[in-house]
Structures are given as C-alpha cells and as structure tokens.
Amino acid sequence: MEEYPEELRSPPVALVSLVGCSEQHGAITTHLLSQQPPINTLALPDFSKLTHLLQQSSSSSSPVGFLKKDWLVKHRTKIPAVVAALFSWDHVSGDPAQWVQVCSDLDDLKAAIRPRNTKLLLLVVVGKSEGISEDRLIALRKRAEVDSKYLLLYNPDPSQLDNSLQRLSASFAELGATFYKEEGRRIKARIENKNFSTRDLQVRYCFKVAVYAEFRRDWAEALRFYEDAYHALREMVGTSTRLPPIQRLFEIKAVAEQLHFKICALFLHGGKLNEAVTWFSQHVGSYKSLVGAPEVIFLHWEWLSRQFLVFAELLDSSSATLPSASSQPLDTADQLLTEWEFHPAYYYQSAAQYLKEKKSALELAVSNAETFNENDDGCAEYVVPSLYIGQFSRLLEQGDDSAMQSITDDEFTRYVIAEGKRFQDSFEIIALLRKCNELYSNRKAQRMGSLCAFQIAREYFSLGDYSNAKQFFDGVANLYRQEGWVTLLWEVLGYLRECSRKQGAIKEFVEFSLQMAALPVSIVDSIQSSKCSPVGPASLEQRELIYREIFALISREARPESFNGLGDFKVTGDNTLHLEIDLVSPLRSVLLASVAFHEQIIKSGVSSLITISLLSQLPLSIEIDQLEVQFNQSQCNFIITNAQIHPLEAVQGEQHDHRMESAPSLALVTNKWLRLTYDIKSEQSGKLECISIIAKMGPHFTICCRAESPASMDDLPLWKFENCVETFPTKDPALSFSGQKAAHVEEPDPQVDVTLGASGPALVGERFLIPVTITSRGHAIHAGEMKINLVDVKGGGLFSPRESEPLSLETHHVELLGIVGPELEDESQKFSDKIMKIQQSFGLVSVPSLKIGESWSCKLEIMWHRPKPIMLFVSLSYSPISYESNSQKVDVHKTLQIEGKDAVSVCQHFMLPFRRDSLLLSKIKLAPDSNQFSSLALHESTVLVVSVKNCCEVTLQLLSMAIKADDGGTERSCSIQHGNEDLGTAVLVPGEEFKKVFSVIPNLDSSKLRLGVVHLKWRRHCGIEDKSSLAAIDSEVVTEYKLPDVHVELPPIIVTLECPPYAILGDPFIYHVKIRNQTELLQEVKFSSADSHSFMLSGSHSDTVFVLPRSEHFLCYKVVPLVSGLQQLPRISLTSVKYSARFQPSIASSNVFVLPSKLHCKTAGIKEKRVEGPTVAD
C-alpha cells in the first residue's frame, strides 16, 4: 500500500485559496484545517501568483492514456475550489488610487478564475473601531459580481475573530461543495450524453466524477462511479488498440488496480466487510486469467501479489475499526465466504505465494533475455514513467528540451526485466510470510503458521542462508513429527539434511539422514514427485539409498560416485562421530534399547540375568561391531563383541577394564528385536540401573542409546500408526510388560550375632544393666558402630516429660546413663579413641575390630525414673571387609522390651497416744470424708506408722529408713523421734510389708506442716542362686517418699482416761477422767456416762463442770467389774459448751481386761504408769 501515492491512499480534501492580506492567512489556515471535514488552504501573498497558478495547460486533442498521473494531486494541491480575496478596509475605503488598485486586482482575479469556474469569496479585513461604509462594500460586491452573502467582514480583533472565522469556514464549505458538485455534474453530463470520442475517456470521466464526489464526501456516488470506471475499463481489455498489447494490458491493470483500491477502501470505510471481500475475489477472479505475454508473465504475478498484499493491508488496518469477521453473516447472495477470507493472513500468504511465482517467472525471463539479447543496446536506460498511469515512454533529450516518445513492446519488456532484476524478491517474500506466520500464531493456527515457516525456510534455503533456514525447518519438523505427517516430515528433513551438508555439519547430516532412513515411508503412500524434497521422493528405495550413503560414509568403504557433495566429510581417527539418543530423541526409531532385569531384587554377589534388546527401523540390517552396556555401578559394565568381526580369543588377549562377552551375531534386522541375555552380578547393595548402551559401528562411529525399561517404554511416535508386526523386546512376554532397567541389590546377610542379655524387670531407681554381646560368626567386623535407642512401647517417641507432668524432676522417665565397657579389657585403652556419644534416649558407641570368631560385649546402664515398659533398639553397622570408607556396610538390628517397675510402695498413717484424746476443732468441723490433711495436736505426741510393701517380684533387702527434712524448717516445726535408722538385714519377700513407727511432736501451729521425706535405702537381695545373673549394679538404691503435709492446731481440751491396766472380777478400782483446759478461758464441759452391764459404777452420771484456765478437772468413778474378759468401761462423752463440740474417747481406749481372779504378782504402781513410748502396733 505504501507504494501508492498519498493522494490515492487518503480521501481527497477540499482546497481553497487565500489571496491578499497575507498576515491573516495563518489564523484562517489553522482554523480551516481544524474543521470537520477539514479544508486545505493555499495561501498566496498577492494576486499575480494566483493568476499564474490557474493558468490552464493546453489540452491535447486526443487522449493517449486513461488517467493522468498528476490529475489527482493537482486537484488536491493546486486547483482551489474557492478563492477568497482579502482586502484591507483601508484600501477599500482609502483614496481613489487605492480603490483603483483594488478594482484592478479584482478584475485580474475574475479573469483568472473564470475558465475553471472557481468560486469567489470576498473578505474585507476591518480594524477595531472603523466605521464601515455600506456604499463602498456594495460597490466592491458589484465589482466582483458576487452574492451579498459571499462578501464577509473579517475582524481580526480577538473578541471578534472566532465569529469571523466561523462565518468564513461555513462560506468556504458551502462554496466548495457547490464547486465540486458543479464540476461533477458537468462531467457527468458528458457521460450521460456519451459525449466522448473514445472509451478511454469514459473511464476518465467516471473516475473524475467519483473523485469530485469524494471531495463532497458523497461516498455512495463515488463508489458507484469508481465501479462504473472499473467495469468500463475491464471491457476495454480486448478492444483497446491504442498501445501495443503488452503495454496495453499493463496499463489497464495499473488503472484497474487503482480503481479497485479506491472501491475496497470505500467499502471498508463504510464498514461493508463482506462486500469488500466479495469485490476482491471478483476482482482477482476477473483479472487472474489475464496472464499476458509469456515473456512478461512475471508482471502478472507481481500485479496479482500486490493485489493480495494491498487488500491484506487494508483489512489489517481496518480490522481495528471494523466489527470482527465472526459477527458478519458469512453467506452472501451468490457466494459462500469462510471466516479465513476475512483474515489478513490469508491474503498475505497468497501475496507471498504469487510473489514466489513472480520470482521464478522473472528468473526464467532474465535467463531468456540474457540468451536472446546478448547484444543489448542499453535503450532501457532512457525509459521513464510517462504522464499517464501505467505507461512508460522514452525520454529524448535535445539540448535543454526533452520529449517523450512511445516505446515498443520489446523495449518495454527489456525495461521491465531490467527493472525486475534490481529487486530481491526473496526478502519481500520472507517478510510477508513472517507477518503471516505471526498472524496465524496469534490465531493459534499452528499448522498454517508452520506452513508459512516452512515456506520462509525454503526461501532462506534458496538464498543460501542455511542457519536461518535450519531454524525454521526445525520448528516445522517438530510439528510434523508430533502429528505423524510422515511425507511432510520427509520433505522437511530432506531440506534439513541439505542444510547440514551445505554447512558441513557432519553429525547433523548423519542424524537427519538416519531419521529419514528410519521414517515409516512405504511403497503404498510414497509420492513419486520430483518436487518432494532435495533428497527426492519419499519412498523405500530412497530410504535405502540414504542408508547406504550414510553407512558408506561412516565405514571405510569407497564412496559411491552418486554421493557427491560429501567430499568434505571425513570420519577418521581424529574425527569420530558420536550420536546420543535419549528418550525423546527423534532418532529412537534408528536404535531403541530396552533393558530388563529378570529379577527385580537381586542378592549382592549373586548373579542374575539381564536381557538387552535392540530394535531398529532402518530399511536394511545393521551390523554392530561392539556393544557396551553401562550401569550406574561402573564395575558392572560389560562389553559384547561381535564374534564374526572380533573373535573372543582375540579380544580376551587384550587388556580390558571391563568384562568381555561375545555374541555370535550383532546384526539388527529391520523391525526385529535383537535380544541378548547375560549374567549380571553386583557386589554393592542399592540400586543397579542400566544407563545406556553404546553401539559401535565401524572404527569411528558410535551411537549412545539411553536404556529404557520395557514396562514404561513409549511407542515409536511415527511407527505406532503403521501396520507392522509388533514383537516383544523379551522372549518372555510378561517381562516385556513388567521388566525394568533397574533392580535393587540387597545387602549381604549379616553374619554377626548381637545378644541382649537382660533378665527380669528393671526396678525404678536402680541402675539397670543390660549386657550386649557381639559375636562374629562369619564376618570380621570393621568400623563397627552400635546405635542404641530407647523408645516408648506405647509410641509417642522418646521419654520427654509430658505436659501433664510439669513438675517432674527428671527430664526423661527412662534414661540411658552410660555404657560400661567390656569386663575383660582395659577400658581406658580401648575407649579412648572411639566414638562414644550418649544422650538420654540415644547412644552411639564404636565397636572395636573383631576377627571371625571373636566376640565383644558391653553393658548398657539404664535408669527408670517412672515405672513403664520401653523398647530397646540396638543396631550394629559394620563393614565386613576393611576400613575403607566407601565399602559396603552391613546392619544388624535387635530389639528388647524391658518392663520398668516400682520396687516398693510406701504409705503412712497417724495414731493418737493411748487413752489420751485432744479436742481438735478442725476435725469436728470438717465433714468426715473431706479429710485432706491429717490433723495433729500441737505439742502433743502423735504416732506415725510408715509401711513399706515389696510390690515387685524380686526379694529386697531394706537397709535403712529415715525421715529427713526436705528443707531446713522441719527441725523447728516438729520433732520426730525414731529408733535406729539402720534396719539390719530386713529382707522383704515379694508382697511382704514392713512397718516402722515414728513419734511426731509438732512445735508450730500451722495449717500445712511439712513433715519431711522418707528415705528408704534398699537393694536387691542377692541370694546364692542369683549371684551369677547380675542384673543390676550391686549398690544401694534410695527410694524417697514424701510424707503428706499435716494440719497442726492447739487442742483446747485434752481428755485423758486413767484406769489400771487390768481389773479383777469383783475388785473395785478407781477410774479417772482428766479434763485439761489448755486455754486461757473458763471452759464449761458437760459430761455424761453410759451404763455398762459389766460394771457397777459410783460417781456423777451426768453433770456440767467448769474447768479453770490452764488447769485440770478430774472426774472420779469407783467401778466394780461384774464380768470377766475384755470389757468396755462405761463410756464417758463430753461436750464443750463453748465450742459446741462433743467428743468421746475411742472404744479402744475405754476397754479393760477383767481377770477372773487376782494375779500372783505385784500390781502396785500400775495405776501410776502411763502409756508413753512408741509401740509397734500391728
């Protein structure tokens, strides 16, 4: 579109002219240009210039062309529709000389514009405060012969300027429209009256009417007349004889092109997309067959290409403003349109296509021209474009003058060929296709985009730009490969192969050749076309030919004559060729390696089978010299040689790092698996994976093929749609479905025993010993390491304190304290350089080197802080071979569950002294069941009984028991008396209970008195039979038991019963009840005694007594026992009135034994004796 002149590309804009008063021109010009529609202005300083401008050229009598090249530009830039003559009011109203000058200018102007029928507008520029004389204005108007409304006053004063300009532009628009209308009508009349000598003029007139209509923005009329011109022109194709045939057709096409452009632009401007597309296809359809003379056929293709390009650009530029093609109704009355015809890419592609046609036609024409016109006279140099569109003529220079002379078709042909040679069409074609590719990509039409890319690549190829060509061919090949379009792929690969050949890239050349040779092209769908590809048609023969060419190249064979172009390629010792084929490589069909272990789990050091299967789709069989199988464990790698080429004896004679195997034949037949099964043995545990198979063919050619598992092997992408026999890579079909290229090598069985020799449960608090013995049966132990882990049986990990037990003193409930070294060895020597790391639940210890048959033992010291079962894990990791760090390690694991139990349970209770009761108010007030603390009487002795029960299954020996203060306060607050701490040899069999009595006298009135902690020392009682199995260190264990806190208060009243230790039937005795008031107040105490059938009683039965402060009151009864045996004395119950507290001495304290007769021993003094000391009560 850019090659069209500007006046053609944009709609015409009305032109007016300003003459005189040039200082006003700027404002007016700017204003008119900003109008809608805009008006162009031709500003002339004085009147003489206009006269010169409007001079009419002498028109020739008979037209020699359809359209003059400069007619459109003349009307847009030179011939104004309206001339505005500007006069200053000073001149108009000035002295007569000035008025005469005005009149003279006006007359000249009138004379100049009359022939062209140009409209005249008078503009009088007035000052700010000048009085206007109507007479002068009328005189001026009459002189100019204009209507009164076309004489305007122009006031440049800013306040008036807008008004003036508005009026001015309205008048200009009106007069301009009138001018163009009249001009159009004038020419239209000629068409209607058929007032033209030749049909050439009809085209011209229609064109002019259309342009005048465009000036008026009457698009409908413009379109109609452009179409008329177009049709009239088309009819002249066979009839015009004005020019020689080649030039005639050239001219018609050139004019038709411009008319068509105008029509399409108008359609698109009006939003008529359907009409534009339909018009375009009609246009192309009607001219497509007008090929013209064969020697200039390239002109036709060029013209056609330009039509498509221009329309594509028109569509492209209008696509932003127009509704999209999808919303357009696709069916027009007579023709079906597809959505692709609304897409610019379609037209760009066609433009490129025709340009290619042009290129090849031009090349042909050039070569013909060079053949036939060797003695070219060079006349083409003087040929220039003529005055008419689509015409060329010769420029004759005679001195200063020059003249145009028509040329013959031969001259024209020579000229256009010479012109054509100047341009490189390839770059234009590439640019068009790139644009097209981009548009298709945006529309996600990747296949069309690929076709464009393919054409671009071919263009680059023809230009010799092989690297760019390769880049595009590669992308296209990927798509065809992906979708399995073999024939198309063949063509692309053929080009790629040629690119590599031209670039001298031998590796790529071989790769592309092999890809082509392995393509599934059969005889059935082969295309016997010479245009197929640089390699030739896709066929089996061609595949075989390529195959032979490649294998001749890589082997030492003499190169056949037909394979020329490969002269530069050398595959020699310095220049080996190595191809890599991975899982996504297109070369997989050349060589596919499938590797299957027969067993998924193999023992270390035990041999197993592995099947290596190779498949090739090359058209002829390949002879492989040698196969190298590579594993991740490089010591397993082995090489298979072809026995036909290298006999095994010869191979074995050489020194090799790897195992050598020999196969009778390593020939790969097309589409037939070559299966090779060999032993494989690994000494190293872990994963054993086959990485790759390297096939060596010839001395300098290797293919490294990544191994694939048959179970997860993808089909060959191109071959999967082919009808060929499908075979399994292994003989066993099950292995083909499940076989893997990797196997797991198990570590060797350990030949070392680890014994954990613990017996019985562990007791809380003791250092429990677990003997661990490591005995080597068949392996020597090197770099041995033993890991010890303690794990909760119930789960939950290690023994950290629970959140619910925040006050737990021990951080771990079960603790690994340490490891005691071997008994027989000196610990200081052996452990000094060994790793030893002990944490509370984890331990790591190194084991010394042991020879086969030796053993080593140690003891784990574990302490339980809480009774619970734990799981002990012991793992030994060792190397059976040597100290090498990378040598294979063997692991032995042992576990043992050990119960942790409490050894003893401790409890306590308090007892009051015999027949002495204290009134403890807190005891009375409290509900009987809410006895949180025991209450003790201040300064009164209380008996504390601590009992220890053996609750484990082991006999214990108690060593000592004492109550110790847990802080320093106990000494002050209470005094505790007891016998000897040492318990001697108190042996406690399971279930037995041991009690010890303490006397406690609280010294401090406290609601919460700490009594202290019972420290019990014990140890396992080692009988004679237990001596051998020493489970724990023979040491004392201290079990602590914290005594509960007690409540201490001062009893206000203490009641003591006093009576003899026994009585004699019928013998009276005195029975005292001593009530002691400990307070500073007088105490009123009510008492009553209950009757007893066993005794006769004398004394107050019931009464109220007052006891003075800090004094005692005695109730005295004389009692005669009536019945012998253990009898209960009459029970006295007391009530303290002050405290409303009633209390009664216990039943036990009021029992007395009545003897039937007097004892024969001295009984004197019994009455005086009181129970004081601590006694053991069971």
Binding site: S326, T338, W340, Q353, A445, R447, L488, D525, Q528
Partner: protein, 107 residues
C-alpha cells in the same frame, strides 16, 4: 472434481491420504489437508463462528485456496474426513453426501 481425500485420526495424524492428481501437486495437497485441520480445530473450539449447527458432522467449506476448495467432516470419534475439490462452486449437498458415504465405508 475431487482431487484429494484424506482421513485424519483424532490425534490429527494422517490415517489415509489419496490424491487424484499428478505427483507434483500431491505434496501441496498434503499441506492443504494438514492446514485444514486448523480450521477444523477452530470450528470445533468456537462453534458459534461456524455456520452449521453444533451437532452437524459436516463442517462445510473449510477454506478456499487459490485453486481448491477444502471441505471437512468430523465423526463422533473425532476422525476427520477432508475433501479437496477443484470446482470452486460445488453444491454443499453433494459434498455432504460424499462425506456420508465415506463415513459409512469408514465404519
């Protein structure tokens, strides 16, 4: 005149291509058939843009090239039949019938 018949699988892989023209054009027809798959894809993905109704298996004229018209037919199994003709004004019904027959043979 029909110049090329193609059956294309659901993965857009060619199942069968037969051209009834001289060998030089055969490759061009391969390209035309391959490109027409873009139009089929677009018709399938944007059913609104296509003229015929949604359930219609006959896709109609896919796109015109300089010398040929390409017609498409999509079966329920996403197998595509592509027909390339040289006649630029073929009646839709004829092509539709041709495709139906082709489908019956294919089944």
């Amino acid at each position: 005149m029909i110049v090329c018949v193609a059956v294309v699988g659901h993965q857009n892989n060619p199942l069968y291509i037969q051209s009834f023209t001289d060998a030089d054009d055969a490759l061009k027809l391969h390209h035309i058939v391959h490109c027409s798959l873009d139009v089929v894809d677009e018709r399938v993905n944007n059913p609104k843009k296509s003229g015929p109704t949604l359930n219609e298996t006959f896709l109609g004229l896919l796109y015109p090239t300089e010398n040929y018209n390409v017609y498409g037919y999509l079966t329920n199994t996403k197998v595509k039949f592509i027909l390339v003709t040289t006649d630029l004004d073929v009646r839709d019904a004829d092509v539709r019938n041709a495709h139906h027959k082709q489908n019956q043979h294919h089944v």
